[in-house]
Symmetry: C2
Subunit: 124 residues, 2 copies
């Protein structure tokens, strides 16, 4: 309906920020079961992914990602219940913002220049 | 009440993004009447401010900032009615998100590690 999308960033008291990149990373870790596989999925270096996980973990009272060391595969990572809550709260704030400010998004879209891509999508 | 703040970014079809930095710049141009004074106020180079203004203008059907060339001061910049609308819509989406997702913000704040600064603010 509206062409404008919203990205949100949560600015925490610790100074850390949780935005779309970190949430996508948590979701990728949840679905792949490892930081390296999640990094590959997102086209990000392992080092970068690891640093983002450290930042998220450091910002929270309890870690969002824990290592699932041991076992036959010898490693892997899991999203903890706290991590699940962070993902869920972020996505729900996003959904609430989108649905509550529908009129405003429409109004912004009217001010925005249409890209060629948007026009072709409309034709299709 | 809640310690977590929200920053929003609007991702436009054109590929441009309008976030807190560009909105603060528009507001500073509005209050100072020039791009260079606005840049100074925000601790940003003139070149950077000019590029951000170009990006915002390029993303919209009509410019958000126009030059107020001529006159005794020989220059200056004004925020156009479209620019005013962009500022207003951005701030209102922000306010709507904040007030509609109050519970979720509180829940996020509970998961977040408290900074020393936040604690001292609470005491004060």
């Amino acid at each position: 309906m509206t062409d404008t999308r919203l990205s949100m960033r949560l600015d925490l008291t610790s100074g850390e920020r949780i935005g779309p990149g970190k949430i996508a990373l948590l979701e990728a870790i949840r679905s792949t079961g490892s930081i390296s596989a999640a990094a590959r999925q997102l086209g990000m270096s392992y080092r970068r992914a690891w640093l983002l996980v450290e930042q998220v973990n450091g910002a929270l009272r309890k870690p969002a990602v824990a290592s699932a060391a041991g076992g036959r595969q010898g490693g892997g990572a899991i999203v903890t219940p706290v991590g699940e809550q962070v993902i869920e709260l972020y996505r729900s704030i996003e959904g609430i913002a989108r649905s509550s400010a529908r009129e405003e998004f429409r109004a912004v879209s009217k001010l925005v220049r249409k890209s060629r891509k948007a026009r072709s999508q409309r034709t299709a």
